[in-house]
Point group: C2
Chain length 206, copies 2
């Protein structure tokens, strides 16, 4: 009578989810605990206060406080209040796509933007143009500098494309990403004129 795959009760299932979400932390560029706190809020679907989070995940008050704050900064968790209760409650964004948009927005800001800025800076300070400046710029070095400049350009054009895509996906209207995803899926399917059909149906949805 023992079932082939052991049945989990609610708490066990939630714990499993929290654990695997915690393992993904690295992928999102956040700490494990922060991901676990987010997972807990997401999967319970209701607002929890600091003590409930501490209790459920067995973490210290300081850790809970810092993790919750960081999640607020990322914009994927919001504060909430219950009347007649002075505690703060925290609620996770429930729409998975909205959550993903917030993450992309934040990572563009934190990672891609500074990178692009730095690449431009190097390009400026290298200047493959009429570079007959003070330093003994011999022929061999000039050629190498030009190659470097070319590589920087390729890199820049790549990241600017990424940033452009990202910004559109993340746009205030918010309809970009899901539509684009399914459109792309159809567009890149091989053969026939799937493209036309995909386009037409997308047009209609406007």
């Amino acid at each position: 009578m023992a079932p082939a795959s052991p049945q989990l009760d609610l708490k066990e299932a939630q714990d499993r989810f929290i654990a695997i979400w915690g393992q993904m932390a690295g992928a999102w560029g956040i700490s494990r605990t922060m991901a676990e706190v987010h997972a807990l809020l997401f999967i319970s679907g209701e607002g929890l206060n600091t003590d409930e989070v501490m209790e459920r995940l067995q973490i210290s008050r300081g850790n809970a406080s810092m993790s919750l704050r960081a999640l607020l900064d990322w914009g994927i968790v919001e504060r909430a209040h219950k009347r007649g209760d002075r505690k703060e409650y925290f609620v996770a964004e429930q729409d998975v796509w909205a959550m993903f948009r917030a993450i992309v927005r934040e990572r563009l800001k934190r990672e891609v933007d500074p990178l692009v800025a730095s690449l431009y800076e190097i390009k400026d300070q290298t200047g493959a143009r009429s570079n007959t400046g003070a330093r003994g710029s011999n022929e061999a070095e000039r050629i190498e500098l030009e190659k470097l400049d070319k590589r920087l350009d390729e890199m820049l054009s790549f990241f600017k494309t990424v940033e452009g895509m990202g910004t559109r996906f993340v746009s205030p209207t918010g309809r970009g990403l899901l539509a684009a995803a399914s459109l792309l899926a159809k567009l890149t399917d091989s053969g026939d004129n799937a493209r036309d059909r995909a386009l037409a149906s997308e047009e209609r949805r406007q």
Copy 2:
């Protein structure tokens, strides 16, 4: 006479690039040194051997060896040999888009695939169906289990879409990503019938 933005010579410019690429390491889910080794190989554009890497980045032999191996595993660096030289040389993928495809491919495999598998597993073991099993499944718990099941479904559909997009981008033909990126840029531009023009020009390019 001092220039407003100080000019960099080749080595200085490369070092700057290596440093900022190293800072991005976290974003790609690799260690700083590994990113620096990759940056060095990418920016010098030619094959370097272990000793050259050690010397240039001032790292130990063990570290160089391990980092190079990891880069090979990621598929963004290849082995090369020079005739009359027993040393191994390492060359970085020079096409930025190809490099990015390799990274996406690897991260899908390492992060998204296992996540999707785990989510399915939890769903299986929770089974919102005729769940009148051994455990005292009271009404309240059943309702909560159903909510959990719904959230898992949303998450799954999200990641399956991501994986679908990713797999297409990464496809053997390789033409997917750049085309899709520019197409999308046009498609999501506001107003008019940019969509038709984008589509037409993409069609032509086939």
